[in-house]
């Protein structure tokens, strides 16, 4: 899959007149990183392929995040990303993902926005629901959801694998895990897309946050009165550190799971099928060797990092000789770090024989993605069941191949096959 013709310099612009650049940031380190732009490349993430040649290992991007910062330090090297994730004494999650502040709320997203040791108390309540063992119990249900969707389109010889498959199965699994009613499906996705897919549009984000919080508060009241055996109820009636969870802890935990649980797996699924539909030999190899599917999932995740989380700096220090000040934010730029040639040999190649695949798509350190085992299992089943049942497929002629190298991913992906 040569992409020589598509090779263009990474899309960054330097500005000498940005407002709001803090005084300690040298102008030569200011680079706007517009990494969310859509493109039609075979590998939409290849937009960062020249980042190591063209940019310093740490630079300052003056991008606006309506709830966190007006600019952020960006680290692109794998080892630096690992350090930021792991060193919670220096890098805090304070305020992280604080969309609720758009509507004047003061609670924190939990467990994410809590630093150790408090963080561990919140994880303790949730970890048993997301452990590899707990996911084993969920597996038959996940398989059922997936196969029901496949039943719906297998005889038609085509489907929109992003919209009619990837978008739906993770949400069905999540609604059931939490105990949310299935009729909230479309509302949830509409609110969630407004929060996470509107590229910093504060008005849309505010609308989505308001809608979600109003609903979630009524949900909490309901399960407070009538407990059940689902995770939502376990949180509402949960114990933190030997005492009942407070109102803020309950809404903070439920809203955080809600934001995180709806579309990361969907986005990964759409990009995974986008690659497979364009690569018949990879498809065939996985059909002939289904035992390679778990390796393939790791490689899909490495090459399709969706989230670049940031941390708040707790003390003045230096990264590669650059002065970073207390209160600054640092972003772990997985969109580059997962392709660091010092960690991954031939990083832009999709390989099923990597000796180690220690990507940080699911973050690292104490805040390692709570749902990582659920996500891996969902992706594995979504791929293996689809390959088991659906004949070789390709992209439908005339399909719009634009995709985003991030959470928006490929919202539509029509594919076709010849029904058996």
């Amino acid at each position: 899959m040569s992409e020589t013709l598509e090779r263009v310099p990474i899309k960054v612009r330097r500005h000498d007149s940005w407002p709001d650049i803090p005084a300690h940031v040298p102008m030569e380190l200011v680079h706007e990183l517009d990494y969310l732009d859509e493109n039609s490349r075979t590998d939409p993430f290849s937009v960062t392929e020249n980042i190591y040649n063209e940019l310093p290992p740490v630079f300052f991007s003056p991008q606006f995040n309506p709830v966190l910062y007006k600019g952020v330090w960006v680290v692109t090297r794998y080892e630096d990303i690992r350090e930021v994730y792991q060193n919670d004494a220096l890098y805090s999650t304070e305020g992280a993902a604080g969309f609720q502040r758009l509507v004047g709320e003061t609670f924190q997203m939990l467990p994410l926005a809590a630093d150790p040791p408090d963080h561990g108390k919140y994880r303790l309540l949730l970890n048993p629901w997301f452990s590899p063992k707990a996911i084993n119990v969920l597996e038959p249900q996940i398989k059922g959801v997936i196969n029901e969707l496949i039943d719906g389109f297998i005889d038609k010889g085509e489907c929109d694998v992003a919209f009619d498959y990837g978008r739906i199965y993770p949400v069905k699994v999540f609604l059931n895990l939490m105990g949310f009613p299935f009729d909230k499906f479309e509302d949830f996705l509409e609110w969630e897309y407004a929060i996470l897919h509107s590229r910093g549009d504060a008005k849309k984000m505010t609308w989505g946050t308001q809608g979600a919080l109003t609903y979630l508060r009524s949900f909490i009241e309901e399960v407070r009165k009538s407990p059940n055996d689902k995770l939502g109820s376990a949180i509402v009636h949960g114990q933190i550190d030997g005492r009942p969870a407070t109102e803020d802890e309950i809404i903070g935990t439920i809203f955080f799971l809600w934001v995180g649980g709806l579309d990361t797996v969907a986005a990964t699924t759409s990009l995974m099928f986008r690659r497979l539909a364009q690569d018949p030999s990879l498809q065939q190899r996985l059909r002939e060797n289904p035992e390679l599917v778990p390796e393939a999932i790791e490689e899909f995740m490495r090459m399709q990092p969706l989230v670049n989380s940031s941390r708040k700096v707790k003390a003045d220090h230096e990264i590669h000789g650059v002065k970073i000040k207390k209160g600054d934010h640092v972003m772990c730029y997985n969109t580059a770090g997962n392709f660091d040639p010092n960690e991954f040999e031939n990083p832009r190649e999709f390989r099923l024989d990597r000796q180690a695949n220690r990507h940080f798509t699911l973050a690292g350190g104490p805040h390692r993605c709570l749902g990582s085992h659920l996500a891996r299992r969902e992706l594995r089943l979504a791929l293996s069941e689809f390959l088991r049942r659906v004949p070789p497929f390709r992209v439908k002629e005339g399909a719009d191949m634009r995709a985003y190298p991030g959470l928006i991913a490929a919202p539509r992906l029509p594919i076709v096959w010849t029904p058996a």
Binding site: R82, Q86, N127, P128, F130, S131, P132, K133, P294, Q355, A356, N357, R358, H359, F360, L362, G364, G365, P366, R368, S372, H373
Partner: protein
């Protein structure tokens, strides 16, 4: 052969367990369950793969350095 784990720094990726389930026992919520463990005979190669798989680099084989 002995595996050494910095258990308190385990973040629960469970990648070691995914590649070498017989070497890397997890606790009930999916974190590494030991500080050190004798590798069962015949599982040495698997153990090394498991050590290499850890994104946090908290695992090592006694007397060996990470790649």
């Amino acid at each position: 052969m002995k595996v050494i784990a910095r258990k308190d720094a385990c973040a629960g990726h469970a990648r070691c367990h995914a590649v070498a389930p017989e070497v890397f026992d997890l606790d009930d919520v999916g974190y590494i369950s030991f500080y050190e463990k004798e590798v069962p005979a015949g599982l040495e190669a698997q153990a090394r793969r498991g050590v290499r798989a850890c994104p946090e680099r908290i695992l090592r084989i006694e007397g060996e350095t990470l790649d």
